[in-house]
């Protein structure tokens, strides 16, 4: 009660009254603290890392044993150490994207959003901070996972046609691309959480955009398919970390730009809804 009991001289800006102030950096540090103070963050990030490493190593071992027995699965026929190591990206993106949705939509489902927006009534700094903090964390986890998996995976497949080392052209670029892709998936998840304000809705749209739409596009006439397919979020993203590219895929740089475009679109929609609608 000490501070409260202290008499107020000439409020609100009297002497002795501390000069608090909301700044972008402070909102960032608040979101950083919020992220790490929930158990679900640790569990989901751990799952994402586990998916990335475990599935990459399993794929590498399957390839190795297939080569050894002379019975290579046709899906693995033209694999490289990079593609085998990044086999788990599809699963890791689910964990990291879902956590991104939770970071934002979880505030709406619990009621925390009222406290958050009362503290930062300008609202947008919260969205930017959440996207930046979680995007960075997902980027670090993704990059770390990609390099760890390649470190072990390339050892498993050494001596096979898929063998590659870090010094091989494009390998480091692919691994960094995978990390960046996972980071941006985290940002998209956060944006979808803000856009839909619902954990279930955000996860559904995320899974739909990354995993279902590519399947649906195969129903289109083939002449359209070639024009649309490379620009879908999942395919553009895959171009970022694929080692080899052909006429049906975008170059890594084009893939990155298209995927950044999707990310910006999701963030813009989230920002619009955040500012325009009541909390």
């Amino acid at each position: 009660m000490s501070t409260l009991a202290a008499p107020l001289e000439a409020p609100p800006a009297g002497p002795g009254r501390p000069a608090y102030r909301v700044t972008g950096q402070r909102v960032l540090s608040s979101e950083w603290a919020k992220l790490w103070s929930l158990r679900s963050t640790w569990i989901t990030l751990g799952l994402g890392l586990l998916f990335l490493v475990a599935f990459g190593l399993i794929a590498s071992s399957r390839y190795k044993s297939g080569i050894g027995s002379g019975d290579v699965d046709p899906d693995f026929a033209d694999s490289t150490a990079v593609s085998l190591s990044l086999f788990g990206t599809n699963f890791a993106q689910l964990a990291l994207g879902v956590l991104g949705v939770l970071v934002m939509a979880g505030e709406y489902s619990t009621g925390m959003i009222r406290s958050t927006m009362a503290a930062v009534p300008r609202r947008l700094p919260v969205l930017w901070s959440k996207a930046a903090v979680f995007g960075l964390v997902a980027l670090v986890v993704g990059t770390l996972g990609a390099f760890i998996t390649f470190g072990f995976g390339s050892g498993i497949v050494s001596g096979t046609p898929a063998a590659m080392s870090l010094t091989h052209a494009g390998v480091v670029r692919s691994l960094l691309g995978a990390g960046l892709y996972l980071g941006l998936v985290g940002v998209i998840g956060t944006a979808l959480g803000a856009l839909l304000r619902s954990v279930a809705g955000g996860i559904s749209v995320l899974v739909g955009a990354l995993m279902l739409i590519p399947g649906l596009v195969s129903l289109l006439p083939s002449s359209w398919r070639g024009d649309i397919s490379p620009y879908l979020p999942s395919n553009a993203g895959a171009s970022m970390f694929a080692l080899t590219h052909d006429s049906t895929t975008l170059s890594p740089t084009a893939g990155l730009l298209v995927f950044l475009g999707w990310t910006a679109l999701a963030l813009a929609g989230a920002a619009y809804r955040l500012v325009r609608r009541d909390v």
């Binding site: 000490s2 501390p18 608090y20 402070r26 979880g106 009362a118 503290a119 009541d278």
Partner: protein
Amino acid sequence: MIDAQRLTKRYGEKTAVDRLDFAVRPGTVTGFLGPNGAGKSTTMRMIVGLDAPTSGSVRVNGHHYARHTAPLQEVGALLEAKSIHPGRSAHNHLKALALTHGIPRRRVDEVIDLAGLGSVAKKRAGAFSLGMGQRLGIAAALLGDPQTVMLDEPVNGLDPEGVLWIRNLLKGLADEGRTVFVSSHLMSEMALVADHLIIVGRGRLLADTTVGDLVREAGGDTVRVATQDPARLREVLAGPGVDITGRAGSEELQITGLSAREIGLKAAEHGIALFELSARTVSLEEAFMNLTRDAVEYHGSTTGIDTLAADGRAA
């Protein structure tokens, strides 16, 4: 200081808050009263910028809430309970809010102690009882050492000790010169803490008054007397400021302006026999009910039956 001007909020066809004009001043506890659904919570949400008014405006300490550089230092608000993430501890919840403003860690510990949460500060807030959740909400409201404190139904879920704590806290804050704005649908609770009252019903301002004025306007203190000789008693009691009513032929009189004691003494002095002498103080609850009767959104079933019966008679 909170200043609402023609504040209006519509959700489609429904008008939740209808052209509210009021001011909440520093140094006193202002009660914000109204039946359920009267628009109290919506008004409070607009004050801290969670909802945007459809028209009109509300300012806090001279500015819109979102314009302040340190909003938590201007208004500390407890809104509907549980504006927290259940997976986060009370300490981490308050720390995260404090970080946005650069509020020092020591202040977080201070409000935890102030709210009596010391022993549970490290536990997940989701495991808190309703009362503990309220205390955490109040700790968060006081975090920025705010000039204006606004609490929506703060006594909900608190045990008697907690209710007493809130009462003293609110009075203490007002005595320090802060603006204290507290909503409730319980007149009896408000009467104990509030000096000023803002009463709303169906989104409209019904009264902007003080506790004393509300009672006086609602009928004040009436004494009911039954006597053998009403005509003579009227003569005896008549005087300035005394108001006597009663039906012709009835032994009963309603008297305002004199206490039951004075009436009894006068009657004895003049040898007038009294059969009944009872002070009938209009309670704040009744005054409030009279004021809001037409504005109650959700009538209980008994009221509904009464209304039906009345309609039946009318038809």
